[in-house]
Symmetry: C2
Subunit: 148 residues, 2 copies
């Protein structure tokens, strides 16, 4: 399949925090929306907090809120905060040094893969959480109109 769904969860959570930024949300509320569970949400929001994207407060009435404005958080920010490794995996083992191809392939591939990943990340950086909230509200408004 590919990477984990952590990026999807992170972006989902950030969008919720931006959508209801007048109050703080609990990990249980976010887990409900994700049809997941609070511990998983806290794990991922913990990574986002380490990256300085969200804040958490403990104790009763605590919860999570954005540390930055929605327009200051890109999908790329969420992605790098929660996704550890590279998208395109390199050789499992270093290839044979005895082979002309083997001893050069890693370096050649490293360049190609890195640039391909950067292209993807650059594209992710073009959309912000604010963009998602705006589109979200547009869709909801149109739905409300058609249900009149």
């Amino acid at each position: 399949m590919g990477l984990s769904s952590r990026s999807a969860v992170a972006i989902h959570a950030l969008t919720m925090l931006a959508r209801w930024d007048d109050r703080s949300l609990t990990s249980a509320e976010i887990a409900d929306s994700l049809a997941s569970n609070p511990v998983l949400v806290r794990r991922i929001l913990g990574s986002l907090r380490n990256a300085g994207l969200v804040l958490s407060t403990e104790g009763r009435g605590g919860g999570w809120s954005l540390a930055l404005k929605p327009r200051e958080i890109s999908l790329h920010d969420a992605y790098v905060a929660v996704e550890p490794g590279p998208v395109l995996s390199r050789h499992a083992h270093p290839p044979s040094d005895a082979c002309e191809v083997g001893r050069n392939m890693q370096a050649l591939l490293e360049v190609e893969f890195r640039e391909a990943e950067q292209a993807m990340e650059e594209r992710l950086g073009r959309t912000t959480i604010a963009d998602l909230v705006r589109r979200l509200l547009t869709v909801e408004r149109e739905l409300a109109g058609s249900n009149r």
Copy 2:
């Protein structure tokens, strides 16, 4: 980590086939260069054959060769031939339909992730196996020169 290393193996193998395109290579030779084993190589080359990139001949003296010219095979071709799923994973479960964010997030993310993946694939499509062989030979030539 991320995706499998199948793309790396596939590109490695294609580069070997292009480098020594006067003869056919066996899965054992390619496995040697990869410091891996023949069965794994045959599995991946099998995918490349299904994609029409390589040919195999059975029996004694058999092996693998390119079905196209090296300049007609891009890294993207190898990537799509061996990599099944998308790079960026979507939600593990469909989110809650009761939540305003939940019921819209999948569609919004689908657009963003797809475009990001396309940016990556577009970049992979810009390099061909012929490019890799050329760079490979350049490096080897320089090494030979400095060892004089």
